[in-house]
Structure formats: structure tokens, C-alpha cells
Amino acid sequence: MFILQFFENNWIVMQGAVSLGIIFSLMAMGVFLAFRILEMPDLSVEGSIILGAGMSARLISGGMNPFLATLLSVLVGSAAGFCTGFLHTKLKIPSILAGILTMVAAYSVVFRIMGANNVPLLPHGPQRVTSVFTFLQDWGLSRPNAIILLSVVVVVVVSALLYCFMGTEFGSAIRATGNNRQMVKAQGINTDIMIIACLMLSNGMVALAGSLWAQQQGFASVDMGIGTIVIGLASVIIAEVIFRPRRFWTSLIAIVIGSIIYRLIIALALSVDFMRSTDLRLVTAVIVAFALCLPLLRDNIAKLRKFIRNRGNT
């Protein structure tokens, strides 16, 4: 009840949480591709989100068409994924380290791209923020509604494409690579190519999320990406714990909902008086730890119930 009341009283907060949740579901899907499909912990995600955000901010503030800027941002994210994949497969660097190397390098690259710590999207003076959402605002939608509408469309299109791709011969080979590299090689598939392709896809999606995020909040800053990986994992784990999806497409839907739930939990947690916005990452870490130990908790509660019931009988 308290929760419902809170969101009723804070309609704007909730709207913001939902739109961020939708945008970040693209990132969570990217994390899902690396962690669950490829079963490879890829930390370069932290780098590709700011690459996407920084690239978009710089290009759009420089006057480029926002759609083209978003597309280029995705390509930069994919390039980061390629680097991680190359380091891991061709240079035989352990996957976690390969991801960290790309992430660290990405911070320097983003500085170069943005030329400053913080780049606003305002091109000329105090006008409206130019972004991919602008054309919907021109049609008469409010900015929050424009953001939600377009993000939903993007998420639906991207996840439909992703679903179809994973059903192709190529996608099927990627899924198998995450499952059993030995078997995949025996079937004549070059696992290196599959790993690199999957990381490019995953980081491209993360960069897309970063790009939309920068356009949603109206600026990009170098430090905005810190903790991305944990947010992505939080969404994926919330989705898995609540919905227990068995198929690929149910996983995708669950992740979108999981990502929104995560944002709502954060909004709720930060609304408590003594909490500050900088506590966000602490709250995230606690949520992930809690979600990860839920199965264990569930078991113990079941055991406790059984114990109490048995004691009542004797």
C-alpha cells in the first residue's frame, strides 16, 4: 500500500524510473547475452555505455542528426566489444581481464571523444534539447511521454531482431558456443568468430542504451557508466528470480520488466529521507546480493516452515 501511495504521489519520479528502466533494458539484454548466452563475464560493458553516451552527446551537440549519431554510437560500442573479443580469443587473455582492459581504455577514449568531463546536448543556448525524441515532441507529445514511447518502440524492435537473429544458423552457433565450445569446434564452427560477434552485438546494445540515456537526461559525463555492470546483472537476476524464464523470448520480456522493477526499487529506496542519490550504487549492490541469495532464503524458509509444522504435530 505504502508503495502504491508513494508512486501515486510521485508520478514524475515513477515516469522517470519507468523510462530509464526501459532504456536500460537494452543494456541488461547486452549483459544477458555475454553473461548467460555466451557464459562469459564481460566487464567492457562499463566502457561501452559511456562510449555510447559520450559519442552521442558530442556528435549531437556538434549538430549531427541524432539518429545518425545514435547509429554511430552503437558502432563504437561494437568496436569495444570487438576489442574484448579479440583480446580474449586471439591473444588468449582471460575474459575478465580482457573486459577490464577494454573498459579502462574506453575511459581515455571517451575523454578524447567528449573533450570534457561533461557534454550537454544543448546546441545553441537555452533551447530545447536536441535528441532522437525531439521529433515526437514536435508532434505534440510531452518530453517524458516522447521518451517512453520511442524507447518502447526501440526495445520492441531490437528484441524482436535479437530473437530472430538467435534463431538463425549463426545465432544458434553462438548459443552453442556459450554452452560447449568443444562440441561447437567438432561441428566445424570457428568459436573465436562466434565469441567476437556476440560481444560486438552485446556491447552495441549497451552503447545504444548509453546513447538513449544521454539523450534522455540531456548530457553525458565521463563517470556516468560506473556500476553499469551491476545494474545490468541486477535486472537480469531480478528477471530470473521472479519469472524463471525457460525460453529465449521469455527471458527478453522478463529482462525488460526486471529492468523497470529495478528502477522502481531504486526510486523507492532513494525516496527515504536519509538516503542520498550517491547511495544508488550501494543500494544496487545490496539488491543484487539479496536477489542472488533469494533461492537459498526460499529453501531455508521452506525448511523452517516444515520444522514448525512437524513440531506442532508431535
Binding site: 544458423e169 544458434s172 562440441m183 567438432a186 564452427i189
Partner: protein, 264 residues
């Protein structure tokens, strides 16, 4: 069909754990040869198979399959010619994918993976038919995840996958060793059935001397990285386990150690 010429392989050269796994092994398999490979632990049986499959490259020597030199081809490129079944039933299949998805992956062995859908309706019918020949009821479980199957079922599926696209050479690496005796027999019978029906050139490593004698038309024995015995045809048919042990002693100059070979 398969020719090995002077294959040498040393693991960890120049270190205290240096191991000469293969000492210049030469072997030629005719089309349709069904060769069983025996030998004690560390004799080099698995190294031999893995060298053929391309898991690693030999230090010296040449491998040709059907007149194609594959010595320097990567594992995934050689897969075009080879069907493989591993000792670990989990190794040959993708556990989180459906039975039909695993078969579809195998059906495209050696082909490039395109953006076409991973399976067609026609294939599905064919898989159902082929699965039915296994007699394990898998034909009704096309969309079950392979991880739900028993070890024997997974090994039978691996066999089917290895032969779905006819391989020039079928490599079986102790593929019944991890199964219980009854299941092992079923999988071995199935192996014979598939090999004979398709007249497949086969190399089967086994720890079990009786299996090695009973199956195939040729038997080779390895010891410390060398081929010490190669018997085929009628001579092989008349061989018994005591004969084999005696031949081992003469060839290697030592008594058969009390390893797994004796116990089986």
C-alpha cells in the same frame, strides 16, 4: 582414407614434466576400415585421436584425410572430414539446447553459418526418423533440452550427430567408458550398426580388450607413444585376450601392468 606419417608430439618440452606422447606414429586406414585402438594409461591413444582431430598440432609428421593434407588445418576446419564422439557424454552435445537444435548444428558440420533459420521442417522430419532408429524414444522429444537426457542417451545422440553428415573418418574416444555396462553395450551395438550401415572408416579407442577384439576388422595396440601391434582380418578374428597379453609382453618387453586394461 586416413594416413598418418611419422607423427611426433611432446607435451611441455624442456620442462621437468616433459612427456613424449607420440614417437613417430605411422598408420594408414583404408576406406571402410574399422580399427580398434587399445593400450594402457598414457600409451598415447587419446593423443593420437586428438592429433587427428586437430585439438593440437603434431611437432612432426603429416596427416592426410582422403588425400587432403590436414596437418596444419585448425580443429574447426578439419571437422568437415571428421565425426567425433568423446568419452564424456556431456562433451559432445550442448546441454541447454534442444535435441533438434543439436542435430541441426551437426547437420551443418563444415558449412558456413548463415542468417537462414537454424532448422527447417523437412530436417525435423528427417531427425525424427533417424532418432527413431536409436530405439530410445527420443523421436518424440525433439524440443527437450539435451541436459535432461541420461548419459547413454546423450552418447547415442552424439553418435547420431557425428554420423548425420557422413564423415570421412569417425573418431571414437572411449565413448562407452563413462557408461554403465548395459548402456555401454547398447551404445556399442548402435556404433556397429551405424558403422556397418554407412561403411564408415572408424578409429575407436577403448580400454576394454574384449570390445576391441569383438568389434572392427583391425586392432592396433599402443605403448609409450608407439604402435606395437597391428593385426587385421582373419588373424584378428582368431585373437583372444591371452594372445593379446602375450603379444604385448613380447612387443614391449615388459609385463602388462595392473592397470585398467587387465581388469576389463
Amino acid at each position: 582414407m586416413l594416413t598418418l606419417a611419422g607423427i611426433k608430439k611432446t607435451f611441455d618440452p624442456g620442462t621437468p614434466i616433459e612427456k613424449h606422447a607420440l614417437h613417430g606414429v605411422s598408420l594408414h586406414l583404408e576406406k571402410g576400415d574399422y580399427v580398434t585402438v587399445i593400450g594402457g594409461n598414457g600409451a598415447g591413444k587419446s593423443t593420437l585421436l586428438n592429433t587427428i582431430a586437430g585439438t593440437f598440432f603434431p611437432d612432426e609428421g603429416k596427416i592426410t584425410v582422403d588425400a587432403v593434407d590436414v596437418t596444419n588445418l585448425h580443429e574447426h576446419k578439419r571437422a568437415l572430414y571428421l565425426g567425433r564422439v568423446f568419452q564424456d557424454p556431456r562433451a559432445g552435445t550442448a546441454a541447454d539446447m534442444f535435441i533438434e537444435e543439436n542435430l541441426a548444428l551437426a547437420y551443418r558440420r563444415g558449412k558456413s553459418r548463415t542468417l537462414r533459420w537454424h532448422i527447417t521442417a523437412k530436417e525435423r522430419a528427417m531427425y525424427r526418423e533417424r532418432l527413431a532408429t536409436l530405439g530410445l524414444g527420443l523421436e518424440n522429444r525433439l524440443t527437450d533440452k539435451v541436459g535432461l537426457l541420461s548419459g547413454g542417451q546423450r552418447q547415442a545422440l552424439s553418435l547420431l550427430m557425428a554420423t548425420l553428415r557422413e564423415p570421412r573418418v569417425l573418431l571414437l574416444d572411449e565413448h562407452t567408458a563413462a557408461l554403465d555396462p548395459k548402456t555401454a553395450k547398447t551404445v556399442l551395438d548402435l556404433t556397429n550398426q551405424l558403422v556397418h550401415e554407412n561403411n564408415l572408416t572408424t578409429l575407436m579407442v577403448t580400454h576394454n580388450m574384449r570390445d576391441a577384439l569383438k568389434n572392427g576388422n583391425r586392432i592396433i595396440m599402443m605403448h609409450e607413444g608407439n604402435l606395437i601391434l597391428d593385426v587385421k582380418g582373419e588373424e584378428k578374428t582368431n585373437l583372444t585376450v591371452p594372445d593379446l597379453l602375450k603379444m604385448f609382453e613380447t612387443a614391449s618387453g615388459e609385463e602388462m601392468a595392473s592397470d585398467r586394461m587387465l581388469l576389463t
